[in-house]
């Protein structure tokens, strides 16, 4: 998904002369930033589950 977004943004920047370089950069950055935030979701989910697991493990001390 991210690579597709990158390619689309780059293509837009290159194909349309009416789009200024700064605008093209900004559009690309916005698209990529959003895809980055989306791609962080699995990692955030993993961190959440790890935190939950720590709570469970802390409660179940085998002493």
């Amino acid at each position: 998904m991210r690579s597709l977004a990158v390619l689309v943004a780059a293509a837009i920047a290159c194909l349309f002369d009416s789009v200024s370089p700064a605008s093209a950069d900004s559009c690309a950055a916005i698209v990529v930033s959003i895809t980055i935030l989306v791609s962080l979701i699995p990692l955030l989910r993993g961190l959440y589950m790890t935190a939950r697991q720590i709570i469970i493990e802390t409660k179940n001390v085998p002493y």
Binding site: A9, D25, A28, V32, Q53
Partner: protein
């Protein structure tokens, strides 16, 4: 805990079935026979049995090693960290010479990247550290609980730092992009040396390709260990990957050390108990390492340390592609370099 004799029988059974070494290691076996005889004389029947079992386990484990074996996570992170720090230093030096603010910002971004690799490498190193002699003397349940808890914390804290940093940088980038697009605040920065920037951009791309390739070779693309048919077959056959084998080998070496230290103080009956203890710890660690991603139960084979390192690298890798594609194409079409400080903030 199983009686000592049955434990020995189980060890023999493991040697006969799951951990039998290949014939290609006959030379290694022959050269180790003298060592085995020495152990027999020094440690008596059961001490020798432990050493023999340990050696056999190590042979069996290393029997799965091939020249095409993937590198360990620690190695991959080490390569990434060193290469990023080296590149960052050189780029910062030339950025100061060229008076390029965007390249300096790029170096700052790379320092965040390098720190992510460093934190996660440190976490991987601690996770793979063998248990100490004192830990081996703890009850198996307590020891395993401590190991699990330590691993969980190591998989939580370093990635959390990386993710928070990454989110802050991304939000900052979004704000600046929004300002450029809609508030008209963006003004193109005139970099002193666009050619130098392009040169370092090319080098950066090569660096990213090398690191992404390393991650892929370690079967850690996005931190997810590939579950190929081969790995499933290996697991079914009782073989382990490089990281797990390294962990297991370190554990067994610690066990050997403990035997040498304690054996002189132990009577033969104590050796029975000692053997049982080690068998218990071996089994517990085998269970632990075999289920080294017990996270499988909810998220597949995920190592969050590798996942966060990969995500950061992935991020810079693709941002860089934006800069490279846009800049190269624009230069060809318009004859104008269009690097903006915004994109180079991430590249």
């Amino acid at each position: 805990m199983a009686p000592p004799d049955s434990g020995i029988a189980n060890y023999d059974s493991m040697m006969d079935h799951g951990f039998k070494h290949s014939s290609t290691e006959a030379t290694v076996d022959d050269s180790a026979d003298d060592y085995n005889d020495y152990n027999h004389a020094k440690h008596g029947k059961y001490g020798s049995k432990i050493m023999e079992s340990t050696r056999s386990l190590l042979h069996g484990v290393s029997g799965g090693a091939t020249s095409g074996e993937p590198p360990s996570n620690e190695y991959v992170l080490n390569v990434a960290f060193i290469s990023f720090v080296g590149f960052m230093g050189v780029q910062a030096f030339f950025a100061l010479i060229a008076n390029s603010e965007s390249m300096l910002e790029d170096s700052e971004a790379m320092s965040v990247d390098a720190l992510t690799y460093l934190f996660n490498m440190w976490a991987e190193r601690i996770k793979n550290r063998p248990p100490t002699a004192e830990e081996l003397l703890l009850p198996v349940a307590v020891r395993e609980h401590r190991i699990e808890l330590k691993r969980l914390y190591l998989e939580l804290v370093p990635p959390l730092i990386s993710v928070v940093t990454l989110i802050c940088v991304t939000i900052n980038a979004l704000q600046q992009a929004y300002s450029t697009l809609f508030a008209g605040e963006g003004e193109e920065e005139e970099d002193v040396s666009a050619g130098l920037m392009l040169f370092f951009s090319g080098l950066n791309l090569v660096l990213d390709v090398v690191n992404v390739t390393c991650f892929a070779r370690a079967n850690q693309a996005y931190g997810l260990q590939k579950q190929t048919q081969q790995t499933r077959d290996n697991e079914a056959a009782g073989l382990m990957n490089a990281s797990t084998r390294n962990h297991f080998q370190q554990h067994l070496e610690a066990a050997q050390l403990l035997i040498v230290e304690k054996d002189e103080e132990l009577e033969e009956d104590d050796n029975h108990n000692h053997l049982s203890m080690l068998q218990g710890s071996d089994m517990a660690l085998t269970d632990h390492t075999t289920h080294d991603g017990y996270l499988e139960s909810w998220f597949g084979n995920v190592n969050l340390n590798m996942c966060s390192a990969w995500t950061v690298g992935y991020f810079f890798y693709f941002i860089f592609w934006v800069a490279a594609i846009v800049a190269t194409t624009k230069e060809c079409v318009d004859g104008v370099m269009v690097f903006s400080p915004f994109i180079f903030r991430f590249s």
